[in-house]
């Protein structure tokens, strides 16, 4: 007898529908799985056999063939165990065929327990069935998939009882969103007014931001306060972020949905694969994808391997990472805001007059950071250690909540243009949405003529100036003050030895 069960596997951050065909027929006892199963998938035989026997079901003493279609896609992980078990039970007459109306996703323990899988969210979304049965631990995230009826079971025994109608199915109950955790407050940063303002602009426009300064200057402290200025994710972005995190095996909140923009801060020893994704096996998303719709913070930018940093070019340019392996390829979303902190030189004191670095050491340090990467930062601010007076005096800095309100209002204006934030604005639309006043044009023209700004830099400055206008609540044209501030926030840093032209 043949049973056809619907399930799914994971490629990158997307689920791929899989049809599990279980054929039980006469012949010498045997069990084979075909359809490009990976190692753990192939081990399903032993897991399913023990699980069925422990659940007081019979293991057919005849030839069993399992086909995982489509045969061209590599099937990864143990999530197909449950579907194979159901197929086997139906094909051997131990379960009514009504069971095949639903899709199944779960790993099996030897005792018949149904275990949760990584990437349940994208996989459930891919299963081609109106109802999907998952492990209890996956029910909250599976429930996020619109249009799919989700049921959960703890064991094969429970599943059999529910299918046969002896027990009611367990449905996921809605879990209330957890209260937001405490985030670091901007008011805790003393001094460095310009750096704090740069954070506000970065939050409002999603612009990439670089802090340069000596160790202990407060660069990390500032960067950690950016998430506190960002509003909750809009619904579609929240679902996308939750999907990516699910596929990466990252823990999700109890309500299943990630509502806050992610903040990822990989250590500088991170490898290229860990940073942008890939791996030889499951095309796992990297930090860049986990930071999608949020912030990727690279502390000590000068310590990261140039190899790893180089891989960031594609996501910064295209908002995604394309990964290709021999057996599969995937597109991983990676639309993150890049924030970085770096020392100006290996000893950290360049510019203060007490730098101890040799010319060669300095040149070597600078060579690690490519011009094109540094060029990506539209906001570049020098940060210096807070003066003693500022540290001791009572802080007059605004709280994150106050700044976040302004940021939210600015973001609303950006959304009215059809984009999530001004960083995503297509350069071709600048003249339409951000025309310049006469004075603003003149200022920019002089900057270009006098060699302080390149053509590309010009477009970037205009985008930041638009964000500054949004923060003020000003409608077009963009005024000269906004342009002047945008220029001020873009410190000229050249680490590739060039004297001009690459602003």
């Amino acid at each position: 007898m043949l049973a056809i069960v619907r399930s799914a596997t994971l490629i990158g951050v997307g689920g791929q529908p899989v049809t599990v065909e279980v054929h039980v027929a006469g012949g010498l006892p045997g069990f084979s799985i075909v359809g490009l199963p990976d190692a753990s998938c192939r081990e399903a035989r032993d897991r399913v056999r023990a699980a069925l026997l422990c659940s007081r079901k019979a293991w057919p003493a005849t030839r069993v063939t399992v086909n995982l279609a489509p045969s061209g896609i590599r099937k990864v992980g143990a999530g197909l165990d449950l579907a194979i078990a159901v197929g086997l039970l139906v094909a051997s007459g131990q379960l009514p065929s009504s069971a095949l109306d639903a899709g199944y996703l779960g790993e099996l323990g030897l005792d018949g327990t149904v275990r949760p899988v990584t990437g349940a969210l994208p996989m459930v979304a891919a299963v081609d069935a109106p109802m999907v049965v998952v492990a209890r631990g996956n029910e909250t995230e599976a429930a996020l998939v619109a249009g799919t009826d989700v049921r959960s079971v703890r064991s094969v025994g429970e599943l059999v009882a529910c299918v046969e109608g002896h027990e009611p199915w367990s449905r996921p109950a809605p879990v209330p969103a957890e209260p937001p955790g405490r985030v670091p407050d901007l008011a805790e940063v003393r001094g460095n007014r310009l750096a704090r303002f740069a954070l506000e602009v970065a939050a409002a426009g999603g612009h990439h931001l670089l802090f340069v300064g000596p160790p202990g200057g407060g660069k990390t402290m500032l960067a950690e306060r950016l998430p506190g200025l960002l509003g909750d994710l809009p619904a579609e972005r929240a679902l996308e972020v939750s999907t990516i995190h699910s596929a990466a095996g990252q823990p999700l909140p109890t309500s299943g949905l990630i509502r806050r923009p992610p903040f990822r801060a990989p250590h500088h020893t991170v490898s290229q694969v860990a940073l942008v994704g890939g791996g030889s096996h499951a095309l796992r998303p990297g930090e860049a994808s986990l930071a999608s719709s949020g912030v990727l913070f690279l502390d000590e930018l000068g310590e990261f391997s140039p190899h790893a940093l180089d891989a960031l070019r594609q996501p910064l340019e295209e908002g995604m990472v394309r990964v290709s392996r021999a057996h599969a390829s995937a597109t991983l979303p990676a639309r993150f805001q890049l924030v970085a902190a770096m020392n100006p030189c290996p000893c950290g004191a360049l510019g203060t007059g007490s730098c101890r670095c040799s010319e060669m050491g300095l040149a070597r340090y600078r060579r690690r950071l490519s011009g094109p990467l540094l060029d990506r930062f539209d906001l570049r601010v020098l940060v210096r250690p807070t003066a003693a007076a500022d540290l001791v005096r009572a802080s007059r800095a605004e709280s994150s909540a106050a700044v976040a309100d302004r940021v939210a209002a600015a973001r609303d204006r950006a959304r009215a243009r059809g984009i999530e934030c001004n960083r995503e604005l297509d350069g071709a639309r600048l003249d339409d949405v951000a025309p310049l006043s006469g004075n603003a044009e003149q200022l920019l023209e002089r900057a270009v003529t006098e060699g302080r700004l390149s053509g590309r830099g010009l477009r970037r400055v205009r985008t930041v100036a638009l964000t500054l206008s949004d923060l003020r609540g000003q409608s077009p044209p963009v005024e000269v003050e906004a342009v002047a501030e945008a220029l001020a926030l873009r410190a000229e840093l050249r680490f590739d030895g060039a004297l001009d032209g690459a602003a």
Binding site: G191, N192, R193, L194, A195, F197, V212, P344, L350, G351, T352, G353, S358, E359, M360, R380, V381, L382, V383, R384, L443, R446, A447, E450, G451, R452, V480, E481, A482, A484, E485, L487, A488, L489, A491, E492, L493, R494, D496, G497, A498, L499, D500, G501, A502
Partner: protein, 325 residues
């Protein structure tokens, strides 16, 4: 192409210059032979070289001369000249008013110099414009990793060399180039040198011409400073920073923008306040905003204006007064 008078007396015509440049492309034609050609008159020299003799007509010395007749047949002076002109290269010949060396500077003084840049053919007088002396043709960027720097100098000041376009910087051209550096300098500052480095040669040339030499001290454990430290031992003045250079050049009071410079147009009070607040070691935008307690936009506009007027400069995100005069 106007035919001009040949011979060292009187200015050279274009055709003569073209011939001289073409001769400079020949194997074995260094500054000494070129000088001989110049003094014999380029047209006459051309004829001599075409028949395998030295440019002054005497018998050929060395093996390179054997290849000259054939090489000359393939050289078109007019074409070479035009290529240089189209590339924006200016050529000065010994004897021209703009040429930095004269007939009494020795038989190996560069008879031909090639210049390119907005201030060509003279060294830039503005302190902020750079000058680079290179060992090969102005189009042969060496080493390749300095391409951006080369282009930047060409955009802002001038790149100068002894070779026509296309000539590769062979080894012997590097020490040769150093004498051009000295010819264009009022002061030589050697920053780093191994104990057999080319910079020591430059210091030697400088001594011969009476150009003062300064050296930057370095760690005694560093091979890169062995040469400069030995210059100090030999009596060169030490240079520890820009103030030392300014003093050696005769500017007093350091590099601070002190007092009112009569050449500077009247500045608005805010802009003047920003200029006065710029420290010599430079300050970041954030620092300036805090110190001045002015709105960010105003400080930024003031700095843009000051940079445009050449009164302030930006270096790695820090703003400082421009170096005078």
């Amino acid at each position: 192409m106007t035919p001009g008078a040949s011979g060292a007396a009187g200015p050279l015509g274009e055709m003569e210059r073209a011939r001289l440049v073409a001769l400079a492309l020949l194997e074995g034609f260094g500054p000494v032979r070129l000088r001989v050609a110049l003094e014999a008159g380029p047209t006459a020299a051309w004829a001599h070289v075409a028949s395998g003799r030295e440019p002054d007509g005497s018998a050929a010395r060395g093996a390179a001369a054997a290849a000259w007749p054939a090489a000359l047949r393939h050289l078109d002076p007019a074409g070479v000249w035009e290529r240089h002109r189209d590339a924006g290269v200016v050529v000065t010949v010994l004897g021209d008013p703009g040429h930095p060396v004269g007939a009494d500077d020795g038989p190996d003084a560069p008879p031909l110099l090639f210049w390119r840049g907005p201030t060509a053919p003279s060294p830039p007088s503005a302190a902020s414009a750079p000058l680079a002396v290179v060992a090969g043709g102005l189009d042969v960027v060496y080493p390749a990793r300095n391409r951006e720097l080369w282009r930047a100098v060409e955009r802002r000041g001038v790149v100068v060399g002894e070779c026509p376009l296309g000539v590769r910087p062979e080894r012997w051209r590097f020490p040769a180039r150093n004498r051009v550096i000295v010819a264009l300098s009022d002061l030589v500052v050697v920053v780093e040198s191994h104990d057999a480095g080319g910079s020591l040669l430059t210091a030697g040339f400088a001594g011969d011409r009476g150009v003062p030499v300064m050296a930057v001290p370095g760690p005694v454990t560093s091979a890169a400073s062995a040469g400069t430290n030995s210059l100090l031992v030999d009596g060169c003045a030490p240079c520890l920073g820009i103030d030392d250079v300014m003093m050696a050049l005769g500017f007093s009071g350091g590099a601070r923008g002190s007092g009112v410079d009569p050449g500077v147009p009247a500045l608005a009070p805010t802009v003047r306040a920003v200029l006065d607040a710029l420290p010599v070691e430079g300050a970041g935008m954030g620092e300036l905003v805090d110190v001045l307690d002015l709105p960010l936009a105003e400080v930024s506009l003031a700095l843009e204006q000051l940079q445009g007027l050449g009164l302030a400069r930006a270096e790695q995100g820090r703003f400082a007064p421009a170096l005078g005069p």
